[in-house]
């Protein structure tokens, strides 16, 4: 349902509230079918909700409170005004796109997202039967294995099936990790050794024009270091299935994503004699990026303290305060002014993938949150290589999956086969605390609970001194601290104490 959105002063609002129901004259055209509206005072949040019962064109005869003294265009009849909890401007959409600024008036729709929990597909009965059979024999098998068995059960016959299941049980028993096995060390070696084989070079991303993505060892280091911003953030944007094959929509989305600033489409000339800045749009560039003169004007009008004149295709801007410093600042401000696009997306390139002629958009720069809000974008598949951003937008579990995917892909691109379980362990450790932690001094190793382990790792004096001042206790549960004090380490057989159960006391 469309609602009227406009900005007003608190003075006007209190005038309306005193005389309800009341006619209110507005300085813009209002569609006939509007039934309610929201008013913002600060352009960021809507704080009033109004119920509108009638819309008519402005005529001076009708008695009404006027929003402004002149330029009135329509009159609405307001039935009710209520103060509401601040509602972000971003909750509304106007004409299919996200509302960025509500200057004076828009018609927008309140967005309603239906949130439901997702439930995975249930296991088929056949698979469940196999799992139950295995359980009856005294072991559990992974679902993926059970599925495979269930599929072949018919061709094997019942006897072979039983035998195979039994053998699988034995194999799984042999492969199980023993209690107190040092899985972390094994994972470290298993990732580290192939890591030495990696080329130190970063390749160009083959197939996409001039898109450079960090690969190989530098990328792997980046992943485990949990950098705030990766050196080459990039996104893979999928469109909703209905738009995927539509060339025009794809190109339009690409243009809307790419961040365009004034210096991309116009020449900026500073005249020191006249103290003016002239913006001269280049028709070829503006056409290429689908930018109208109006867009440029809108962007420039957001700057305060200037006078703007439009003269035969060029825009002359003069700071209200005449000084060289102001002029210089203005020039810099105009250069960086965004006309349209999403912050952070420097380039967007569409590429056809697969036989079905489906478009996928690749970008340089990443802004997951805002890209997911674009209507045509499929919010279930769109992906970024910025792990910290994924953690912020999609949550810690998504970040864990992203670490796993990214690390696995980086290794596989180099032709290295590392068992996925090692990477899973790393990903789980990095996300254990609920936020993405680096492997190293600032992350996992630097935050161990044992003082001695931390002191043995890095910055010995700092940790020991601090522990002394704070009176920390070391329970000697880990490896490093036990080696320091000369005890058997708590791994493998060293972890097990002698257990003496003794004989139960017999009552005399």
């Amino acid at each position: 349902m469309a609602s009227l959105l406009w900005r007003d002063t608190s003075k006007n609002i209190s005038a309306i509230m005193e005389r309800l129901p009341v006619n209110y004259a507005l300085d813009f055209d209002v569609p006939k079918d509007i039934e309610d509206g929201y008013i913002t005072i600060n352009r960021k949040n809507f704080t009033y909700h109004v119920v509108i019962s009638g819309v008519m064109p402005y005529s001076p005869e009708t008695e009404a409170i006027a929003k402004k003294k002149s330029g009135l265009k329509s009159i609405i009849t307001i039935e009710k005004v209520e103060k509401i909890e601040p509602l972000s401007v971003m909750e509304f959409r106007a004409g299919g796109k996200t509302l960025e600024t509500i200057a004076n008036f828009e018609v927008g729709e309140r967005q309603v997202t239906e949130i439901r929990e997702k439930y995975g597909e249930n296991l088929s009965e056949d698979v469940q039967n196999v799992l139950d059979d295995a359980k009856a024999m005294g072991f559990t098998i992974p679902e993926s294995v059970a599925e495979e068995i269930a599929r072949r059960r018919q061709e094997w016959g019942e006897k072979t099936y039983r035998n195979i299941l039994k053998r699988i049980g034995e194999e799984i028993g042999n492969e199980l990790i023993d209690p107190y096995e040092a899985v972390g060390i094994i994972a470290a070696q298993s990732i580290g050794e192939p890591g030495t084989q990696m080329t130190m070079r970063t390749f160009h991303f083959a197939g996409v024009r001039e898109m450079n993505v960090t690969l190989g060892l530098p990328r792997l280091i980046e992943i485990v270091d949990a950098r705030r911003i990766p050196s080459t953030p990039s996104m893979t944007i999928y469109l909703k299935p209905e738009y995927e094959t539509n060339d025009e929509v794809v190109m339009d989305v690409v243009k809307r994503l790419e961040n365009t600033s004034i210096s991309d489409v116009a020449d900026i000339i500073t005249d020191i004699g006249e103290l003016t800045v002239t913006v001269r749009p280049d028709p070829r560039k503006t056409k290429d990026r689908l930018i109208e003169m109006e867009d440029i004007m809108n962007a420039i009008n957001r700057i305060k303290g200037i006078t703007v004149m439009e003269d035969s295709g060029q825009i002359i801007i003069k700071p209200q305060q005449e000084s060289f410093k102001k002029l210089y600042l203005l020039q810099e401000q105009i250069k960086g002014l965004t006309i349209k696009g999403i912050n952070g997306i420097k380039r967007a390139i569409a590429r056809v993938e697969g036989k079905e002629h489906r478009w996928v958009i690749y970008t340089q720069g990443s802004n997951l949150k805002e890209v997911l809000e674009v209507d045509e974008v499929d919010p279930t598949r769109t992906y970024t290589n910025d792990i910290v951003e994924i953690a912020n937008v999609l949550g810690i579990e998504a970040a864990r999956n992203a670490i796993l995917n990214e690390a696995l892909r980086t290794l596989q691109e180099q032709g290295l086969n590392v068992d996925v379980r090692h990477l899973m362990l790393v990903a789980d450790m990095m996300t254990f605390s609920g936020s993405v932690r680096a492997v190293g001094r600032t992350g996992i190793s630097g935050r161990k609970s044992s003082v001695l382990a931390r002191a043995a790792f890095e910055i010995t004096t700092k940790h020991l001194l601090r522990a002394g001042v704070m009176g920390e206790v070391d329970k000697l549960a880990g490896v490093a601290e036990n080696i320091i004090v000369g005890q058997p380490i708590t791994l493998g057989t060293g972890a097990v104490d002698i257990i003496y159960k003794g004989y139960p006391k017999t009552k005399k």
Partner: protein, 87 residues
């Protein structure tokens, strides 16, 4: 300010709230105390999405996560809602 359901994203596995009466069984099966479970922040987008369905989620609630695993088919993981991160 959720405009899309984060739980629908391919990267996000299923999140379910564990009812309080089942917590004991899970902790017993895992042979662990609640505070040693992996954590999830109460401000986590997935938790926020669950809150839109179930109402406020208290700290200390156990969240059952059913992951799609390349080795297991599905694997079950537990996290406890906690704002403090481990020291």
């Amino acid at each position: 300010m959720a405009k899309f359901n984060v739980l629908d994203h391919n990267l996000v596995p299923e999140h379910h709230i564990v009812p309080e009466e089942e917590e004991k069984d899970i902790l017993k099966e895992l042979n662990i105390e609640k505070e040693f479970l992996p954590k999830i922040s109460p401000n986590d987008p997935a938790i926020k999405a669950l809150e839109a369905v179930h109402g406020k989620i208290k700290e200390g609630t156990i969240i059952k996560i059913v992951r799609k695993s390349p080795t297991m088919g599905h694997s079950v993981y537990y996290r406890v809602v906690a704002s403090e991160v481990f020291k």
